[in-house]
Amino acid sequence: METRKIYQEELAGLKDELAAMCRLTETMIENAVRALVTCDRELGKKVAESDRQVDEYETDIEKKCLRLLWKEQPVAQDFRIISTALKMITDIERFGDQAADIGDLVATEPAGEEICLPHIAAMGELAVCMVHESVDSFVKGDETLADAVIRTDDRMDELFVAVKNDLVEQIRINRESGDRAIMLMMAAKYLERIGDHAVNVAEWTKYCRTGVHQKF
């Protein structure tokens, strides 16, 4: 017979809520990149505004974790799940922040010439994928998936360099595009940071499985 049913339900609920928080940030990143590529100011503004929801998730999950800590005094796997969730929400909240920052950039961007940038779209796709898989690896307890996320970050760094080179070239060709190029450079940096936060999440997943926190 299983005991401590309510407690186990609370732990499962914690994972569900983390997954929901993560899905929200995924959508935000997708929309932010779409807004960026299509110069859609309205969409950018919408993304920036939804950051508030992410913050609400963070506060709520944090409260639940802290309450479980004093109420259940968890040990072993329970302790690892709760402490991981508590650390992880900081990184997930950063996913939202970075997406909102990109949204802000688009929303306040002065009108200018469009620049076609395949690499930045690829960064966006990769960021969404890393975010999804990092949190999914925790929810499913899948260490292999966490390892994959950690490895994928190298690809993200390569894309960032590629975007930088694209933009330098763009400025060389057309000096007038400088403003927009710098804005895109900032957006690329935000996406690259999202990759780093996804790596943090994957590291915490590994801690949750093994009890050892290793920095990659």
Binding site: E2, T3, R4, P74, A76, F79, T210
Partner: protein
């Protein structure tokens, strides 16, 4: 075994309950008065050479008649550390604890196989059980002070080992109460009956009594389970302080207590030692699924 020991241990449960009959008290006092032992027997350094402070059990099996209570247990207990034994009731942890000062010798039908060493001494070999129990003190779940004054409780052991000089006994009593962090509260009440103290004070007095013969090892069988959180806290602090010079093995049902004070933790289940390791590891990432289920309260 000397006479007072025999009388005291004829019925450990009775003494644990503090329920001495008057006849027994007379016997205990008389036996103590008659004990003659070498005055040097309290020399801690000398005993340490003999017993050491590490405990080692190898391939231990123990039966109570036909019931096997311990199954092939091996454990190395490090010196001057706190080792906690946890597990559900009836898992064998107290039985195992008591083997280290041969308290199970007195249980009818009890048979022990395997070896127990304290330092380099095989304690089930040709060992003087008195000397063993002097070196390996024991504190029980229920405080069991003798129905005597505070002073006499603590002086009991030293007297048994032949110390008669009042000044020497005074020094030991003060020293033991200091170590048990209760000298200040009891120094003006040394002649009061120990049974008049509160439960928590009685238990610390029992620890002080055990310390009076300078044991290198202290066994504690759920020493705080009958105490309130404040007394529990005092005893836990005391354990940590004593562990600087004494090896402590503690049986506890309080998992947080094991996590708080112990360096090593052993998890027993149905007579088996399922897992033994650093407390940090056991409580954050236990290796065995059964340990995980027990410490997280999943056993139904």
């Amino acid at each position: 075994m000397n006479r007072s020991e025999k009388i005291m241990q004829k019925n450990p449960e009775q003494s644990a309950a503090g329920g001495f009959r008057r006849k027994d008290v007379r016997k205990i006092k008389k036996a103590a008065a008659e004990e003659k032992a070498a005055p040097a027997a309290l020399d801690r350094e000398q005993d340490k050479d003999f017993f050491g402070q590490t405990l080692s059990a190898k391939e231990v099996n123990l039966w109570y008649s036909s019931f096997q209570a311990l199954k092939n247990i091996s454990m190395e207990v490090p010196e001057k550390k706190i080792t906690a034994l946890i597990g559900p009731s009836g898992c064998g942890k107290s039985t195992f604890l008591k083997c280290f000062n041969r308290m199970n010798d007195l249980v009818p039908g009890c048979r022990v196989e395997g070896s127990f060493f304290i330092g380099k001494t095989d304690i089930y070999g040709r060992t003087d059980v008195n000397l063993l129990r002097k070196n390996v003190g024991m504190v029980f779940q229920k405080p069991n002070p003798f129905p005597m004054s505070v002073y006499d409780n603590i002086a009991y052991g030293p007297r048994t080992f032949g110390i008669r000089r009042r000044a020497e006994l005074d020094r030991i009593v003060e020293d033991s109460l200091q170590k048990a962090a209760m000298w200040e509260e009891l120094k003006d009440r040394l002649d009061r009956p120990a049974l008049g103290l509160s439960g928590g004070q009685q238990q610390r007095l029992c620890i002080a009594r055990a310390l009076a013969v300078a044991p290198g090892v202290l066994l504690m069988d759920e020493p705080t389970s009958a105490l309130d959180p404040i007394s529990t806290g005092k005893i836990e602090e005391l354990c940590c302080e004593l562990a600087k010079s004494t090896t402590i093995v503690i049986v506890t049902h309080n998992m947080q207590q094991a996590a708080r004070i112990s360096d090593k933790t052993g998890f027993f289940l149905l007579g088996e030692l399922v897992e033994f390791g650093n407390t940090d590891d056991i409580f954050t990432a236990p290796r065995d699924e059964r340990t995980e289920r027990y410490i997280t309260g999943r056993f139904g």
